[in-house]
Symmetry: C2
Subunit: 517 residues, 2 copies
């Protein structure tokens, strides 16, 4: 048994059984080891941004890490943007980055890079394996680091550690501690603050607090104590749909966010961080709450979020039988007709969403209505970008579909962002994943046009226009999808879209809709 075998065995012993991969020469022994373990599912991405974004999607839907297999510094670099998003989503991930044999590094061969330095900014934990005997303990440590608390563990695997003899290494199942319970004092202090600001309290939920059980308890508190519920600007995952408790998402545009939070005097954080402006704008504040607002963390990432909400509920004297305020079924929304718009697509998708679907929103400026409507749609999981690095939608839905093969996955996808990691369509085809990608084809970085206005640029000239618009030539998404083995169709009216949606809902496997808006 060599080091690479020990790595695979330790991953498998800890139920890490999916490896999103784009290997290179320095990882050939690891590939050979994976080849000896048919119980490890290896999923190839044709670019590392696909690999890491898919691992994020897998983690969001399972709460468990996938492994990624990346080739030296450049391979890691290609995956960093989506690792950044995953870190902001606070999900577990184990990146295995192959490096040269340790004795080869002093030669400064062409691919030699400072992998440790590259990994650090986007990782919660980085470790370079010292030799074959270290592979087992290091992999156990990586597994632990990826889950306590959930985060990005990056393990650098020199080729000689992979190919060296590791006969003595026994794969161990790692015992993880339960998430810490929050101290009673903290709960009491927050309960007091809530009592002291009636009608002016908000609870901001993230992590598992945004999943059904957590939302249910937060909803009980909200209903009984007149507290408002909020979701983060970037929602990693939230249970949505009719019959569920429906927090209001803090909007991305700064003025709307400030307005939403303007009458909140106490903001309670549960698995979330204080909301701040996505970008700085001249003359506008960085914090979104007003200056006199008390921001209090009930439970931070890694603590027992649901337990903390239950403790707060009990401390506030809210009955365990208290009914939360739940979303009703879809309100009577007229069926859109005529020219296709992003709003119309949001309405049509929300109306026909099948139960237990997964919806990823990387539509950026488009489909902003979807989140509000999703409260009334059939119960589903909602995912979106968390770190602001574009190019997550196609990979994230790829990983979510690997994690949940029986659930229909929808990707509401801006065209400019889709171009970043379009290679993921091929993986969807190869793995025959049940993902419907809806490209909002507006042929522009619309968010940047909006931002140009915000910074006070009124009229846009040729140099700027050519950097903000994706026209000349227009992208043909039907051809691009076909090129990667994904069936696709283009629609430009509401009627066409609705009809196509019906037929797509009756089939399985990847499909791309180019929605010309």
């Amino acid at each position: 048994m060599n080091g690479a075998d020990a790595l695979c065995d330790t991953l498998l012993a800890n139920d890490v059984k999916v490896c999103f991969a784009n290997p290179g020469t320095s990882e050939m022994h690891f590939v050979a080891a994976l080849d000896r373990k048919p119980e490890m599912r290896c999923v190839l991405g044709l670019f590392e941004g696909v690999v890491t974004g898919a691992a994020d999607g897998y983690a969001r839907m399972t709460g468990r890490p996938a492994a990624t297999l990346l080739h030296t510094g450049p391979g890691l670099a290609n995956g960093l943007a989506n690792i950044h998003n995953a870190r902001r989503a606070r999900v577990p991930m184990i990146n295995v980055v192959g490096d040269h044999a340790s004795y080869h590094l002093p030669f400064d061969a062409p691919l030699t890079t400072d992998i440790d330095g590259l990994a650090a900014p986007m990782s919660n934990w980085v470790y370079r394996i010292s030799g074959p005997a270290d592979v087992g303990p290091a992999t156990e440590a990586a597994y632990r680091a990826s889950l306590v608390p959930a985060g990005i563990a990056t393990l650098i695997l020199p080729a000689d550690a992979a190919w060296g003899d590791a006969a003595a290494v026994l794969p161990n199942k790692v015992v993880l501690p339960a998430p810490p319970t929050v101290p009673t004092d903290r709960v009491r202090g927050i309960a007091d603050a809530i009592r002291g600001a009636p009608g002016r309290v908000g609870i901001l939920v993230g992590g598992t607090a945004a999943q059904p059980d957590g939302l249910e308890v937060a909803g009980q508190i909200a209903a009984a104590r007149n507290v408002r519920l909020f979701g983060e600007v970037g929602v990693a995952r939230m249970a949505r749909g009719a019959g569920r408790v429906a927090p209001t998402r803090i909007p991305y545009p700064i003025d709307a966010a400030i307005e939403l939070l303007s009458d909140i005097d106490v903001l309670i954080l549960v698995g979330a961080t204080e909301p701040v402006a996505f970008f700085a704008y001249p003359g506008k504040p960085g914090r979104l709450v007003h200056n006199d607002c008390r921001v209090m963390a009930l439970a931070t990432h890694g603590e027992d979020l649901r337990g903390a909400l239950e403790a707060l509920r009990d401390e506030l004297g809210v009955k365990r039988t208290q009914s939360p305020l739940r979303s009703s079924a879809m309100p009577d929304e007229p069926v859109p007709t005529g020219e296709l718009t992003d709003d119309a697509i949001a309405v049509m998708v929300a109306r026909k969403l099948p139960e237990n679907a997964i919806v990823c929103d990387e539509a950026i400026t488009s489909a902003r209505r979807f989140f509000a409507l999703s409260a009334y749609a059939a119960p589903h999981d909602f995912l979106m970008t968390t770190g602001g690095a574009i190019g997550i939608g196609i990979p994230l839905t790829t990983g979510a579909a690997i994690a949940c093969p029986d659930r229909k996955v929808f990707n509401l996808q801006a065209d400019g962002s889709a171009m970043y990691t379009l290679q993921g369509l091929w993986t969807q085809a190869r793995e025959n994943l049940d993902v419907v990608t809806i490209i909002f084809s507006n042929r522009t970085y619309a968010v940047l046009h909006m931002e140009m206005q915000k910074v006070g640029v009124g009229k846009i000239g040729e140099n700027a226009r050519r950097m903000l618009d994706l026209d000349q030539p227009s992208l043909d998404w039907v051809a691009i999808a076909k090129g990667m083995g994904v069936e696709a169709a283009r629609v430009s009216s509401c009627e066409q879209f609705d009809d196509l949606l019906d037929s797509v809902l009756k089939r399985r496997g990847p499909f791309l809709i180019e929605a010309v808006i």
Copy 2:
């Protein structure tokens, strides 16, 4: 005038007049400033790997830096793999990376990242601008750092430095020192070593030593003193073709490289570093020369390479009128027929290459014959990947074509590598660049199959095969190209390829040939 204007003006004052860009919100003031400078050519890439690879191609063909415009840490991260290649090619580049306003960083907004940390591993120089008044001096310093010696200068531009008042900043033209002349002692020592090892001396040329003037002098020494000439494993740029001096490139496969250098007792480096094994292989050495070989640097990157070769020639008593050994015209090579192979493509392209073309080779295992044949083709420039990060061909040829609008550009492109930065095809279409991309469509990472053999894996199972092969489904490159606005055709016989090449040579503008091999 704000800081962003000062940045543009300083770039333009120093003749940096092409900006490859993919901007985001934090760079809106820079985009607005570019909009006020129509003399700056802004070229949009739909992914940052395209942006940085194009800047590399531009620099290789002009010897001058282009600017890149990248959005915060993730935008930089997406561009790092090709920055790594550019650093290994020792070309000038000025990366402008936008960041949050400095006062916004403590809020740790979603896109906040350690840009300095990310930039360092792949940059020769990194600097964070301290405020609007610092923009001018910092940009001058970046320009200098990109050229003395040529390398990667990364300039971090906080949004408040871009939008702040910089009325007092005057754009300066930077005066650069001439490259240092090499000391006479060094030249004499090397001349002595050459005299002491007749028939067992090699000169390894890189940088400008691989351009016509440098090759000519190296060729004089080689002809008069029985010295062999070598090119680096990764050739950044070399003048090739009939009538020129033709060094032998050190091959990538380690056994062939060691064999080639086995009878060299003195290896003289001119603008190159000592050749080492691309990867470590168990039981094989890291150095490619034998243990008793003396490796001597005549001139290192940044020194006057041509001057050093001239001094060495004179020191050796070689006449200035000495004729070098030049390549003849194309030998009588039979026209390939029948089923298309990578070798056949190399022959057909070499035969019909138009004069003054630019050829980029990212065909990896395919088209290995091309370099040898290129000695006999019409005079042209040859470029290839230098750092081993795949995904350079499409961006590099994009930048080369921007630099040299009157020259036909050919890209010999492996399919797996093409997928990494395929977005560059769209830029070729938008800018109507005269680039012919030849996809060697073998539907596999063939190099990895080869490497699996080298590490001793005989039979490949399902898990490994699925990580090494790009089949199921096959990529349809004609559809992918069409999707990005590039005309394309598929061929699978030599006759079809040769006919298509004829018609492609008669037209201008981007074209993609999917060569099924």
